[in-house]
């Protein structure tokens, strides 16, 4: 097991990793930008290193700065958290080249799943269902038209290098396809450096269901249940839950098994997530997130498995500590992301927190890096905390969460909580009548 780990991140996920390390008996090194000198993760790590100015590009995203910090503190592994350098294969290589362990999959797996087309190829090879479409780059318009005729409309025209909802366009018919094909490719080239585009079937009201998985170096490949993350605003998840509610049990089993199959067939090591779109009784591979995810706590709450500790253990070469049949789910868990933003205009709301009261009591978990007097920086992600509840069933979890949100006082900045409170009370959420575009439509139709 590792002796000392550098955490190449900040905020709540850095705190999360510090907590996991402490329980594993591993020392921690925090890195921080000049703006984060007073940050919570710096206070609670065993050591800390200032790695650059406030701008992430010159600090948290600076490969030489992070690697040098790891060098001078003589750590034996680096945990990248999520975001920043977490999916950067070059960073993973540099960490390895410096004789340290990157706590995540191999650089090869990061590359394989970092590219939409090679990710899809891997999924297809593992027998996972894909949305009908080009299954690869479409070079010229006529090829696109032919693929479209075979797949049927509506279709999504996507930049291969895009992501997070960017570089995508819905195409309803052939006329439109002819009009937008060249533009989309040109835009993709401008935005992502690659003009490669592909086509795939467009689902009007799919649910986003993702399966937590893990693999070890010795061939073990397990799924750890699924999460429903359909409650998204412009492709950003804001409410997540586990297990996925109102899912046909046969379909649930097939989705879980598919993810485990992908891990087995690719030889993926450590933890990751396989994302699917689900509509009716069909499910389709979307992408793999080769890292720990923001919403991992809901899975921890229902399985009792500490995913960050598991990730570290697997990166250190340990064997999977449980078998597939030992993964048991209990109760229901929901997470809301507390973002420092205007709940209606979604503009960032950095600043000093002048009043703070976090909820507590049974079944309530708060993962945060803030407190009264903390300054929410304008330079980084707006996620300041995650509120997670666990209860015997979904109804009880919703009640508990609503109560906990009422107790959550954050003064001095605006947060997304008022929006999430409304959504949690929304009949569509309670009755599981939502899909990935539900919130955007709901916001559009909201009076006032």
């Amino acid at each position: 097991m590792f002796r000392k780990i550098l955490i190449a991140n900040r905020g709540e996920i850095a705190m999360r990793v510090i907590r996991a390390c402490r329980e594993l008996g591993i020392r921690t090194v925090a890195v921080y930008s000049e703006a984060d000198r007073q940050a919570t993760h710096v206070r609670f790590a065993d050591e800390s290193v200032c790695i650059g100015p406030a701008q992430a590009r010159q600090s948290y995203l600076s490969l030489p700065a992070v690697i040098s910090a790891a060098d001078i503190t003589r750590v034996d592994a680096v945990h990248p958290g999520y975001g920043f350098l977490a999916e950067n294969a070059t960073f993973a290589e540099a960490v390895n080249a410096h004789g340290m362990t990157f706590i995540g999959p191999s650089p090869e797996h990061l590359r394989q799943f970092g590219d939409k087309l090679s990710a899809k190829a891997a999924a297809r090879a593992a027998g996972l269902p894909l949305l009908a479409g080009s299954h690869g780059a479409v070079e010229v318009l006529e090829e696109a038209v032919e693929v479209a005729r075979a797949s049927g409309y509506p279709l999504m025209l996507k930049a291969a290098a895009g992501g997070g909802g960017k570089g995508m366009r819905v195409v309803e018919d052939e006329d439109t396809l002819r009009k937008v094909f060249a533009i989309t490719s040109a835009e993709a080239k401008a935005a992502f450096g690659s003009g490669e585009v592909f086509l795939e079937r467009f689902l009007r009201a799919p649910r986003h269901i993702e399966v937590q998985f893990a693999g070890d170096r010795y061939g073990a490949a397990v799924h750890i249940g699924e999460r429903d993350c359909s409650m998204q605003r412009r492709h950003q998840k804001i409410i997540e839950e586990a297990p996925a509610p109102n899912l046909d049990e046969g379909l649930r089993d097939r989705i879980r098994a598919a993810a485990a199959r992908l891990v087995a067939s690719t030889g993926y090591v450590t933890v990751g997530t396989c994302e699917f779109l689900v509509q009716g009784d069909e499910f389709f591979f979307l992408e793999v997130n080769p890292r720990i995810q923001v919403e991992h706590p809901v899975t921890e709450m229902v399985t009792g498995i500490d995913l960050v500790q598991l990730q570290i253990r697997l990166a250190a070469g340990e064997r999977m500590p449980f078998t597939q049949s030992e993964v048991k789910l209990d109760g229901h868990s929901i997470e809301v992301r507390v973002n420092a933003e205007d709940p209606w205009k979604f503009t960032p709301s950095p600043g000093r927190i002048v009043g703070y009261h976090a909820p507590g009591g049974p079944g309530v978990r708060v993962d945060s890096a803030v407190h009264e007097g903390a300054f929410v920086q304008p330079y980084y992600d707006s996620l300041v905390a995650k509120l997670i509840v666990h209860a015997p069933d979904r109804e009880a979890a919703i009640r508990k969460l609503l109560g906990a949100m009422d107790e959550y006082v954050v003064e001095g900045i605006r947060t997304s909580l008022p929006l999430q409170k409304l959504l949690l009370s929304d009949p569509a959420f309670r009755d599981v009548k939502f899909h990935t575009r539900y919130i955007d439509e709901w916001l559009k139709n909201r009076p006032g």
Partner: protein
């Protein structure tokens, strides 16, 4: 260092816009020196992270303000290991009492096994060297204290 690692390192440096770099590892005693085409030839090592250090270079001057009361300070523009000379048997770049001009190399900060020459961004006379040779430095850490000439 394996061939594959080396190739990857070179590709990475290329992407980072590095002009020239030297890489030594104690592991197997291997040493690698690379200069990319179009880079300015020079008699001494380049500052390979110049592109990253550049926008930061202004920071020490600004950040030095609080310390202005008792003189100017040269701060570390990057995180790494501090060396007073280019190699163990070479002379120190500067000693207490030396005059330093803006742009003059005052030390090395080794980062990612690259030797980064740190240039002073002020004129002055070195009154104090605030860190021991071979010690780690953080970004923005005070390295030298200077007095006006």
């Amino acid at each position: 260092m394996e061939r594959k690692e080396m190739a990857e390192l070179i590709r990475m440096m290329k992407r980072q816009g590095v002009a020239e770099f030297t890489y030594e590892t104690g592991e197997d005693g291997s040493k690698l020196k690379v200069r990319f085409e179009g880079a300015t030839p020079s008699g001494y090592m380049q500052v390979p992270v110049a592109a990253q250090a550049a926008p930061v270079a202004a920071a020490p001057a600004a950040a030095a303000k609080p310390a202005a009361a008792d003189g100017r300070v040269i701060k570390a523009p990057i995180v790494g290991t501090f060396y007073r000379s280019s190699s163990p048997d070479a002379q120190a770049y500067v000693n207490v009492g030396d005059s330093v001009r803006k742009g003059q190399v005052v030390c090395i900060v080794e980062a990612m096994k690259l030797m980064n020459q740190i240039e002073s961004d002020v004129d002055g006379v070195v009154t104090e060297i605030l860190i021991e040779n071979g010690q780690p430095v953080q970004f923005g850490q005070d390295l030298f204290r200077l007095a006006a000439r």
